[in-house]
């Protein structure tokens, strides 16, 4: 597997480059050296520096965090659910987090910190609801965990409907939340990042610590149990970390879809399933994808700017179609089903 170190180092190299582009694109080249020096400090001496420090830097940091964390969580979910379509979007996690946060704002007037708690609770509820519906619909002959995906989609649809209904009941505050709910990376959410970044950090640390036993579980639960791994606890903890991590991302900038679905598929063929290497790779790649999406949203349709969430939804949806085609509709897969 010689691709692994190459891939990791490429990502580790590309990410700062992309981040740099994200930070500095749009400024005139003569200002660049001065801006570079302004970075470490927190005082802006000029308009350009203000833009850099108060708008660009928070955006980049948010994009890094959200992309990286969502990608890692998506990878873990896909591995544990054993389905190539699992992700925070498709398992109701994002929709649940969004619903609880919106309900918290509109019904209970929660402040930002509590909103984050609401989002985390919502993320967990969304996932549990998907599990419950899947179990209740009771498909015995369902070898690839597909009913979970279907129930996740149903639950997501349902929660989104509720969220929209809630938004309608308060037209005044609706417009504020409307841009958040499609998934917007906005410098105004820097305070949210400051409040919730530790959730994702803890989640990733937990997952890295659990990486080895998790990898063993991936290769077979019975085999893992025979080597002393406590399968239910490790799986449960990992899912909890993944769901809460994804929830924290939603708390910051709204549900950004498909990063958690698509990035694992990019990373897995190049890096394999060993989580100790795959998770950092997923983080780096996810961060890059998110920064790229934000860049595209910001620059592609000047002077209009498109929300990052919309970009990831549109592009991600197309990739979703391709994934389905490859995994479920290729002649090999069809013959399995036939």
């Amino acid at each position: 597997m010689q691709r692994r170190p190459v891939f990791l180092s490429t990502m580790a190299f590309l990410l700062p480059v992309m981040a740099g582009v994200h930070l500095f694109l749009g400024f005139s080249p003569t200002d660049l050296p001065q801006l570079l020096f302004a970075l470490p400090g927190s005082d802006a001496q000029s308009f350009e520096e203000a833009v850099l420090l108060y708008q660009r830097v928070p955006r980049t940091l948010i994009a890094l965090y959200v992309g990286g964390v969502t990608a890692v969580c998506g990878f873990v979910l896909q591995s544990l659910v054993r389905n190539p379509l699992a992700s925070p979007t498709t398992l109701g996690v994002n929709a649940g987090a969004a619903l609880f946060l919106v309900a918290g704002v509109l019904l209970f007037n929660l402040d930002t910190a509590l909103q984050g708690a609401a989002a985390l609770a919502g993320a967990l509820s969304g996932f549990l609801a998907s599990l419950a519906v899947a179990k209740a619909a009771g498909r015995q002959n369902d070898p690839r965990g597909l009913s979970l995906i279907l129930s996740g989609a149903l639950v997501a649809m349902f929660f989104t409907g509720l969220t929209n209904a809630l938004l309608l009941s308060d037209p005044a505050r609706r417009s504020d939340l409307l841009s958040w709910i499609v998934g917007t990376i906005n410098h105004a959410y820097a305070d949210r990042l400051a409040l919730f970044w530790w959730v994702g950090a803890i989640a990733i640390c937990v997952l890295l610590v659990l990486a080895r036993p998790l990898t063993l579980i991936l290769f077979g639960a019975e085999k893992a149990a025979s080597t002393g791994v406590n399968v239910p606890i490790v799986s449960g903890l990992a899912i909890l970390a993944a769901v809460l991590g994804a929830g924290s991302a939603v708390a910051i900038c709204g549900p950004i879809g498909f990063v958690g679905l698509v990035v694992p598929h990019i990373v897995r063929p190049l890096v394999g399933n060993n989580l100790r290497i795959a998770l950092p790779a997923a983080f780096l790649t996810g961060a890059m994808v998110c920064i790229l999406a934000d860049l595209v949203g910001r620059e592609a349709l000047r002077p209009f700017s498109l929300s990052t969430g919309l970009v990831t939804d549109l592009v991600g949806g197309v990739v979703f179609v391709l994934i389905i085609k490859r995994f479920y509709l290729s002649p090999g897969a069809q013959q399995e089903a036939a």
Binding site: L85, T89, T90, V133, A136, A137, G138, R139, L146, S147, I149, L150, S151, A153, L154, M157, F158, T160, G161, L162, N164, A165, L167, L168, S169, P171, R174, S175, L178, S179, I181, V182, G257, F258, L306, S307, G309, L310, D313, L314, G316, G317, V318, F320, V321, I324, K325, Y328, L329, Q334, A337, A338
Partner: protein
């Protein structure tokens, strides 16, 4: 002409001259649901801001004279809403039941396939370009939107040989992309249009009136014919594509027909009332719990259940939650989801006991 008899598996049935069989248990369940619908309808007629009593209702129905305000409330507001609500609920539930047999999955729903989304986007685009479009044009837009999604799905999924599951998965993908496209439209439209569209998106019987019912009625009767003709084949499909073909079903062709049937039903409902999320899964499941039926009976019972749910939700909106802005979709959720959960749990219990 009609005889009471037993089917091959020993259950009692009614048999017609040409061989048509109806299970007695299904017939009883169906009549029960019809009775429930009528009772609910009468109760719904009574609820609302204007005070009306049974006497007024009887007077209206028998052509007697009633005070203007009451007559308006009954004839122009409530009765249309109840009738339209029932037909829309019937249509969506029917659509869901057909899609579930098509996908061979109990969780299939017109929203999940992306049909609702396709209709919605087309309607939104139409209303943006032609704000005062007549209802017939809106309906046309809805149907064309649904058909586009159906065509896209069929193209993506390929020839008629793939499993029903792949259609659902593709549907989810298409639905998500369309939904984000819809969010885009809502986000970047001016506030009033955006709010109006969102309100309609949450489901509303507000525009129920007699002309609309008149437009919907033919579709209702068409759906009855559809059930009669195509209903029995659904049982063959439950055995899988290959066995259905072995039993004589032209799967590729009739799959297309059923998809079209479902699209038209869904599009019509979306035009009249907006998208009713989840109803396509809710109603057939609750109906199946009341009386596990197959084929035509399943379709009829699901449709009745769907109608009942919508009328009940409308009653909730108008009567109990006066003053609260509760869109139809929300009250449907409030009524439907607990019923769904109860039905699923009791069904699981039943399954567990019978082992």
């Amino acid at each position: 002409m009609i005889k009471r008899s037993t089917a091959t598996d020993g259950l009692s049935i009614l048999r017609f001259r040409n061989g048509l069989q109806i299970k007695t248990s299904n017939l009883v369940a169906g009549l029960g649901l019809v009775a429930a619908t009528v009772l609910l309808g009468l109760y719904s007629l009574r609820t609302g801001l204007t005070e009306t009593g049974i006497a007024d209702i009887l007077a209206i129905l028998s052509g007697g004279h009633v005070a203007d305000a009451k007559a308006y409330a009954l004839l122009d507001v409530r009765l249309p809403r109840i009738l339209l609500g029932f037909m829309v609920g019937w249509a969506v539930a029917l659509c869901g039941a057909v899609l579930q047999s098509l996908a061979r999955n109990p969780l299939a729903d017109p929203g999940l396939f992306g049909f609702s989304q396709g209709s919605i986007i087309m309607i939104m685009l139409l209303l943006i370009l032609v704000p005062l479009a007549p209802k017939s044009l809106v309906a046309l837009a809805a149907v064309s939107g649904g058909l586009c999604v159906a065509a896209l799905l069929l193209w993506l999924v390929g020839a008629g040989r793939s499993s029903g599951l792949s259609i659902v998965l593709m549907g989810i993908a298409v639905e998500t992309v369309l939904s984000s496209f819809g969010s885009l439209l809502i986000l970047y439209l001016p506030a009033e249009t955006s709010i109006a569209l969102s309100e309609w998106l949450a489901g509303s019987l507000f525009q129920a009136n007699w002309p609309l019912i008149a437009t919907f009625l033919p579709l209702f009767f068409l759906s009855l014919a559809g059930i009669l003709i195509a209903g029995r084949a659904l049982v063959a499909y439950d055995l899988g594509n290959e066995m259905a073909m072995a039993l004589g079903e032209p799967v590729a062709r009739s799959r297309l027909m059923r998809l079209l049937f479902a699209v038209v039903l869904s599009a019509a409902a979306v035009t009249a009332v907006g998208p009713l999320m989840f109803l396509g899964v809710l109603a057939p499941h609750i109906a199946a719990f009341l009386s596990p039926a197959t084929g035509r009976a399943r379709l009829v019972l699901s449709g009745l259940m769907g109608g009942i749910l919508v009328v009940a939700a409308d009653t909730l909106t108008r009567g109990v939650a006066v003053g609260l802005p509760m869109p139809l979709g929300l009250s449907l959720t409030i009524i439907g989801v607990p019923l769904f959960i109860i039905a699923l749990r009791l069904q699981a219990l039943r399954r567990f006991q019978s082992h």
